[in-house]
């Protein structure tokens, strides 16, 4: 593989998590934190950032140790690594940033069961060198943050009439309480999935049409 091909591949690994293989809108992974915490924009963002840290850390570690972990016990080992990361983050935040910890307290433990993280270890970090795993983890994290922010933002606007705690509509707005309750999460996620799948289908159709046009012109 020459240098240009290599940097092209690296770019692909970085960018795929944002749209083509977005962990939430395409893979539909990690639904537990996605639905549980995205009832406001700031919660979504905070969860996204905490997940980013754990994902990048464990991807690097798993990738470095990939040759020594026998495949029969790989999942267990990954979970041990991820859980260690999460607990350490939890304690560190509580010791050095008590304010942030008070905000995030309930989310942090949830990160262990986020299958986006375990999924990346299994599908990527266990088979690729550390620098590619790092880019992959970074791209996936950005995709994850975008998705959580979108869900959290829309749910907060509709369910609370505010965005990042800034009131938008004044006192006349009657908030749709259902949007910040769990059913609202399911509803919105359903609509977003519908929208993104429709968008993808439209793009695919257009690409097909273009291809046919080209064929006709040349044929």
């Amino acid at each position: 593989m020459n240098a240009i091909e290599q940097s092209g591949r690296a770019y692909q690994e970085l960018i795929k998590g944002i749209w083509k293989e977005n962990p939430i809108f395409v893979s539909v992974l990690g639904m537990c934190p996605t639905l549980a915490v995205t009832n406001s924009a700031i919660n979504g963002l905070a969860m996204g950032l905490a997940t980013t840290f754990v994902l990048i850390g464990s991807s690097l570690l798993v990738s470095l140790m990939r040759k020594w972990i026998p495949k029969q016990v790989r999942i267990t080992t990954y979970i041990v690594i991820i859980a260690t990361f999460v607990s350490t983050v939890d304690l560190t935040l509580e010791a050095f940033f008590p304010k942030i910890h008070k905000e995030l307290g309930a989310f942090i433990a949830l990160i262990v069961v986020n299958c986006v993280i375990l999924g990346r270890q299994e599908a990527f970090a266990s088979k690729n060198p550390p620098w590619l795993s790092f880019l992959d983890a970074l791209g996936m994290s950005v995709g994850f943050i975008i998705a959580l922010l979108m869900l959290g933002g829309i749910r907060e606007i509709l369910g609370n009439g505010s965005f990042f705690d800034i009131s938008l509509f004044g006192s006349h707005f009657e908030p749709w309480v259902i949007m910040i309750l769990p059913p609202g999460g399911f509803l919105l996620l359903g609509f977003l999935l519908l929208f993104f799948n429709w968008l993808r289908a439209v793009r695919l159709d257009r690409a097909k049409l273009e291809a046919e046009k080209v064929k006709v012109q040349h044929g």
Binding site: V73, T76, V80, L91, T92, P98
Partner: protein, 229 residues
């Protein structure tokens, strides 16, 4: 003739299978290092976390007792409230805090309370004005209530404002939002009923525990309270 390659394949497959010992070793080593990291992180952060909690408690005392500038920690000894010995300070005994204003007049008591909420125990601190029989301030110290719902017990300004002048007699009462007519009623949060009721229960339980001792102390020392505007 064709059999030969098949025979050679079998040993390769079985040699690729690691022994049970190897698997146990891998997990053992992973667990060992994980444990080591966790224990060191815990030991390293524990004093900092304790200090943070103590600082948060001190800051909260000043907030739940408006106008407070100095306080004494008090403990129960033989059913009576006494000042806690500074040298014996520790978190093992339950304490309440008597707050004074600049001029030295008594403002009230800051009392910790706790009660299981929707998720884990809610720990809170409230300011209590002994003779006026009202709660004058309230703050959640620690909770793991659901973000966006249960955590409104400290993020929802309307709910927190329940506790700026809440009469504790005849007793605390939970009502729906907008239904408050009496000074002893608390408006619960729609969508976070369990958490709001847990807060009320915590206050009721803690009041029951401390009221008699506080009343006795106030009477014995003939404390006069700062008149609140």
């Amino acid at each position: 003739m064709n059999n030969q390659p098949v025979h050679t394949e079998i040993p390769i497959v079985s040699s690729a299978e690691p022994s049970s010992l190897r698997l146990i070793m891998t997990l053992g080593i992973a667990g060992f290092f994980s444990g080591l990291i966790l224990v060191s992180a815990y030991v390293f952060t524990l004093p900092l976390i304790e200090r943070n909690k103590e600082e948060a408690l001190q800051a909260a005392i000043y907030r739940v007792l408006p106008g407070c500038s100095r306080y004494d920690a008090m403990i129960l000894k033989n059913g009576e409230l006494v000042k806690q010995d500074k040298n014996a300070a520790g978190q093992s005994v339950s304490r309440i805090f008597l707050g004074y204003s600049d001029s030295g007049s008594v403002i009230g008591f800051a009392i910790p309370a706790s009660e299981p909420g929707f998720a884990d125990v809610i720990r809170l601190l409230y300011g209590f004005e002994g003779t006026g029989k009202v709660i004058v301030g309230f703050e959640v110290l620690d909770s793991k209530e659901t973000p966006g719902l249960g955590d409104r017990i400290f993020k929802d300004k309307h709910f927190v404002s329940n506790f700026t002048a809440l009469a504790v007699e005849p007793e605390l009462e939970a009502v729906k939002t907008g239904a408050k007519v009496k000074p002893n009623q608390v408006e619960t949060i729609t969508g976070a009923t369990i958490s709001s009721k847990a807060v009320i229960r915590a206050l009721q339980k803690s009041l029951k525990e401390w009221r008699s001792a506080i009343d006795a102390y106030v009477q014995k020392n003939q404390l006069t309270y700062n008149q609140r505007p």
